[in-house]
């Protein structure tokens, strides 16, 4: 009576099949990550030291440290976040909480999606034209940071809109029926509960801002500057460009050096992300509904 029928057996076989298939694809995905990190740590790990991180390059960048590039990347990411996060979150709040479904908002949404699809080299040319030349910021940390900010706006807006929409409409209606204005509702109920999603957007933005080379090449990152920047109006070195330079442009670089630069770059991104993730975990712990 309880012996499996042919259909049961077939379902069970398929179940095993699909399980293995999904497991396999997951393993395939993990493989490059492990391979990349493994190579970087194996080849770049030995060169890492406090001296490498916190001194300037010497002998035509074939020796010494990478401090100007490390500092430059941190500054660029910081400037781009300071510009992009307020703008992106405000735009997302408008689109999610205020804007009606209309031709105007459809055009805006289309523009955002298209902005996300623009190649980074085009952003670079835009930054050169708009910030370096038109606003006359010169090639500077500010111009490069703003260029990165423009590049990251769509990511931030989309992530924020999604996290705002994830807050149940019933919460908003409950607030509105108490006589709360839209802004009061957003401030007291909607925003506090969508911070985790906004932080996810910031994490993605950090990774892109730190890693991109093209947008900063024309707008603020320099091949080699022996001194540290004094203000946001100075040019700077950056890890991503430095990696490109020591890999392809400078003869006689020891093999470990580019790996060390790459490992540092990954480390910087992870450090920024760890901050955001730590904050996000803290917020999730007091969750809610």
């Amino acid at each position: 009576m309880f012996s499996p029928t042919a259909l049961n057996l077939r379902n069970r076989r398929r179940e095993r099949w699909f399980r293995s298939l999904f497991l396999l694809t997951t393993v395939i995905l993990v493989f490059p990550v492990v391979a990349i990190l493994g190579t970087l740590i194996a080849k770049g790990g030995p060169i890492l030291s406090l001296e490498f991180l916190f001194t300037e390059p010497r002998e035509g960048m074939t020796a010494g440290g990478i401090f100007p590039a490390l500092l430059g990347t941190v500054l660029l990411v910081t400037v781009s976040l300071l510009a992009a996060v307020p703008l992106g979150v405000a735009a997302a709040i408008y689109l999610s909480e205020y804007a009606a479904e209309s031709r105007f908002t459809r055009v805006i949404n289309l523009a955002i999606v298209n902005l996300a699809g623009v190649p980074s080299i085009i952003h670079a040319l835009f930054g050169l034209g708009a910030f370096v030349l038109f606003l006359d910021l010169g090639t500077s940390i500010l111009a490069a940071g703003l260029t990165l900010a423009i590049m990251n706006l769509p990511i931030l807006i989309v992530a924020t809109v999604e996290s705002l929409q994830a807050v149940p409409k019933a919460f908003r209606e409950a607030c509105w029926t108490m006589g709360a204005t839209r802004w009061q509702t957003i401030r007291m109920v909607v925003l506090p509960n969508s911070l985790t999603g906004i932080l996810t957007g910031i994490i993605l933005a950090v990774s892109r801002a730190a890693g991109e080379t093209a947008p900063i090449m024309f707008t603020g990152a320099a091949f080699f500057i022996p001194v540290l920047p004094e203000s946001v109006f100075d040019q700077t070195m950056a890890l991503s460009l430095h990696l490109f330079v020591v890999t392809t442009q400078v003869p006689g670089v020891p093999e470990a050096l580019p790996y060390g630069v790459a490992l540092t770059l990954v480390g910087v991104v992870l450090a920024f992300n760890a901050l955001a993730i730590g904050f996000r975990t803290h917020l999730r712990r007091r969750k809610k509904w």
Partner: protein
Amino acid sequence: MVTPGSDQGNTTPAPAIAETGRPATRIVLEVKDLGVSYGEHVALSGVNLTVRENEIFGIIGPANSGKTSFLKSLNRMNMFNRSMRVTGEVLFAGRDVRRWRNVYALRRRIGVVFPLPVGLPLSIYDNVALAPKLAGVRKRQELDAIVERCLRRAALWDEVKDRLHSLGSLLSGGQQQRLTIARSLSQDPDLLLLDEFSIAVDPVTTMRIEDVLKELRNEMTIILVTNLVQQARRLAERTAFFLSGRCIEVGDTEALFAGDVQDQRTHDYITGRFG
């Protein structure tokens, strides 16, 4: 209490009650030829009724009869749904609700309890203190007093007084519904709208909330939409029967249940022949 002054010209004493010796009752809400539609779909049309001060006014009727749409038109909740259109007139405290220039003040005077409890993802304390805060109350002692008073009146105080600062959204369904009621009381409303409040609440809690409502009747007017015919009988002085987007009839609850109806369908619904 309805604010005096704003409605002087529009108060109509209700003779039926005045004759029984109780003080002349004023009209809190007057609805004239109300219609609600969502795009092409007409949810409600031609509704005329009045609600008197300090009564519990029941609305019964099967699903899709327009009960919730009726409630939504009262405090202009149609602003939340762009496809919802309201026609006709709703006079609250003698003034057409669409003429209230300050819709936020209007909403503060009308409390709403939705079918599914909505514990905001704030602490229990903040759930109840939110409306007073929005209205500008800042002093801690004042807020403390309001929170305690509202939670007590919603019969929730004893269960939560030791954890006022834990999350309101983690309470059980029945507790959350009482929290929702406490929250709408914190607005100090003149009119309380309850939309099938007991749908997600166990029978014991339902009875407790019903006791709460009986006491609240002395201080405010309550419109009780319910899918439980007997609940209307237990609580409402007068009851309206809605069917397919029309208000079939309004009458004294006891008279309706005694069979004194103008429309056979009301009788059929009340006695459980359909719905």
